[in-house]
Amino acid sequence: MSADGAGVSARRVGGHERVTGQQEYLADIRQPHALHVKLVALDVARARIRSIDTTAAEQVPGVSLVMTAADLPQPVPRFGPQFQDRPILAVGETKYHGEPVAAVAAETKDAAEAAARLVVVEHEVLPAVFSVAEALDSESPLVQEPGMRPDDPLAGTNTLREHRFGWGDVDTESADLVVDNSYTFPIVTHFAIEPHGFMAAPDGDGIVIWSAIQHPYLLQKMMAKLLGMPLASVRVLAPDPGGAFGGKQNAKLEPLLAFMALHTGRPVRLILTLEETFQAVRRSSAEITVRTGFVEDGTLAFQDIEANFLIGAYVDIADRVVGKSSYLGCGPYRTPAARILARAILSHTTPSTAFRGFGIPQLTWAREANLDEGAYVLGIDRLELRLRNLVGEGEAFIPDDTPADGDWAQSVRKAAELIKWDSPVPPGRGRGLAIGLKSGPTAALSYSTVRLLADGSGVVYSGTSDMGQGARTIFAQIVAEELGLPLDRISVVMGDTAVVPYDQQTSASRSSVIMGTAVLRACREIQAQLSEMASRLHGIETSQIVVEDGVVRLPDGEVSIVEVLQQGLGPLGGELVGNGEMRKEGDPDHPLGGSAAFFEFNCAATEVEVDQETGETLLHRYVTVSDVGRAMNPIQVVGQDEGAAIMGLGHTLMEHIILDESGRIQNLGAIDYRIPTSNDLPLELISASVENGDGPGPYGIKGIAEGALLATAPAVAGAVREATGAFIRDLPLTPERVWQALQERP
């Protein structure tokens, strides 16, 4: 067992840089000859662009280029991870508040800003849709040109896709009680503390692109296609993001910057303001109707869910969010019959994209709140109701699909114990408890290379993006564990497609499991090579040699890896190189294109007090318990779980993007878009992990870091309900909203 290996709260790799200010985020990278870019956007949502006059802008000293759609190849190239629908710059019309219409490149930031203000865009505001009701109204304008989906029966509507899942027959399944309610989840935005930033520079016949992107290789592929270059000519440099949460998964402005770089022949640099970042990424909002059928003993008869997700003007990855999350809409419960209809509905708003939880928080909110309602009507304890319906380990909850991969009831009982569920609730307070379930990746591919250098230090190459979840540290710890190296003798190289082998993406909490396995396999290759060396050196069969715990075990003793290495390498020196691959093939017959590699299961519980005169909610205690398989680095797990819980409190209590009637974002910026601060913490925040070593990753790891966000809202709303009797079905539970609900109490 290595001192820095599995299960150790090893010092974060990259931690030293973060506490000294040396960590280079994108905006810190020196690019001395770069032109500074400033975007031009309209202060309206949807508008027809009549003309763009760049003359005054071009005359600002220092301006090199004012680019509009007319300067791009025609037809203007479009991109997107699911559909190639987003143009590099707005073409003919803007479709959301903040869509870039033009971009200036200039020698200084001041010049770029000044010039951007001088670009005159003659435009005409057009009627638009900003809500589910508006979007579904057949009289409403269409967000997407019908010609973009020629063979799609939905093409003449704003419904991009309908996802239908289910089993059994909901309409004939008999139930003693049917609870039917509608819930809403607001538009929220990622608000990573690092605003988005991008750079691009011509590189011989190719191009270099800098972006703190979670999926460098997908960006590389997309850019190669857009630019008509071989993959080998497109280099993506991806510094660690200063927070991403899904908002930095897919290309946003990299294509624009690439064309500007090629056009000017110079490096170009764009750092978005926080306001521009808010306009660039958000979570899908949702209106979800849940009909839950119960037998009188509290067991489920059926779940009938209709979820309308409001996505943005361009799809980005939002349709996948809708499909993947709604598939799990019924949660980890025994559900005899289910019907799920989920729609991805286009609107003239910021393109919604991946955001921690990937649609599950929205569905969990509705489903769990509805279960609570059923429990109240039936007179059954809300914890008991859940335990009664929760599947056991190895039990399927979606027919013919991956069964429960953990003893989930254990997490629930732990949460109940930590919130003291069975003890009397103090007067004036209420408790809530809710369950969240999300699937990990359904198809995956990661490669890793590990090098064991002549002095016994190591380098591990991984294409994962470390955005705070601590990926670097995890991979270093795996190498530490497998090769017995101390952490400070391991270097982790990430974020360079020219140097690091392929990784599909960083998402779905996949990296510890998928990339971790690739790293582990690379280490195993090195172990095999060490075994060969030892065999050669000592004249023993490799079958009699075991490489583990940093040593090479021979029948008659053990030798340190370093010693075998140095003897084995001989006077010429050299190194050992190991490669690992972890591949999970998709399954074209599966509704999601593949079964889940693992699940993230979480139980959230809380005890609150509500100031019934002002509607303010005070969280006395908040508990989150996740089923993690194995905590590879416990302190990092705690940090991620607590962080996810607090982020969940954001959309539960205070976060919502407010649009005016014309679709403009009213609370654009940090003054009026409120996220939790250090003074918004629960008085007590407790996180715990259940570790049964039953994950598919190295040492029994499962993916983590999204779980603790999933069930925050229903846990809090359930507690508010017990404390006040008010059943609130819309988030966030701002003091005003709670107060309003209290006024409306019968």
Binding site: S9, R11, R12, G14, G15, H16, E17, R18, V19, T20, G21, Q22, Q23, E24, Y25, A27, D28, R30, D110, H190, F191, A192, I193, E194, P195, D240, P241, G242, G243, A244, F245, I271, T273, L274, M467, G468, Q469, G470, I635, Q636, V638, G639, Q640, E642, G643, A644, A645, I646, M647, G669, A670, I671, I675, P676, T677, S678, N679, L681, L685
Partner: protein, 160 residues
């Protein structure tokens, strides 16, 4: 002096006197990052709400995005780069590392500077005082509990 759009200024940054000619509309944050290459201090909201740009001016924590560089003429500035001495991490930096307080790390320079100022005026803060002292530093990774633990641990280590 006469009104001017550019000005010569002199100030001490992390113990070193720097003299510069700056545009008067550039903020202290701009100048530190773009002219002095001190990129440890970060830009996020640019309107004094997030604290990512926090540094010390004459010992007081301020949002450097809300100060014109020229306002710092004659002042002593401490940034995150000035917390370590001779390569040795300061007690707060060490505590942040030990307690796992840095996740993505982007807010951390600001948190460290606010914590530095807090401990300078209140060497034995309570949990509430740490929360209040750092309430102007947003962390979206929401590592607040570990950050608080780190500040308390640093306070203890200094006072031992």
């Amino acid at each position: 002096m006469m009104p001017a759009a550019a000005m010569a200024m002199a100030f001490t940054v992390n113990g070193t006197v720097r003299t510069l000619e700056v545009a008067t509309h550039h903020t202290l944050l701009d100048v530190l990052r773009d002219m002095l290459d001190l990129t440890g201090t970060k830009e996020c909201c640019a309107e004094g709400e997030c604290g990512a740009c926090t540094l010390l001016v004459d010992g007081r924590s301020v949002n450097s995005c809300l100060m014109l560089a020229v306002e710092a003429d004659g002042s002593e500035i401490t940034t995150v780069e000035g917390l370590a001495s001779n390569g040795e991490l300061g007690p707060l930096q060490q505590a942040f590392l030990d307690k796992g307080a840095a996740q993505c790390g982007f807010c951390i320079p600001g948190q460290l500077m606010s914590a530095q100022a807090l401990l300078a005026r209140n060497p034995h803060p309570t949990v509430e005082e740490v929360h209040d002292g750092l309430v102007g530093n947003l962390c979206r990774c929401a590592g607040y509990q570990q950050i608080t633990e780190a500040v308390l641990a640093a306070a203890e280590s200094v006072n031992r």
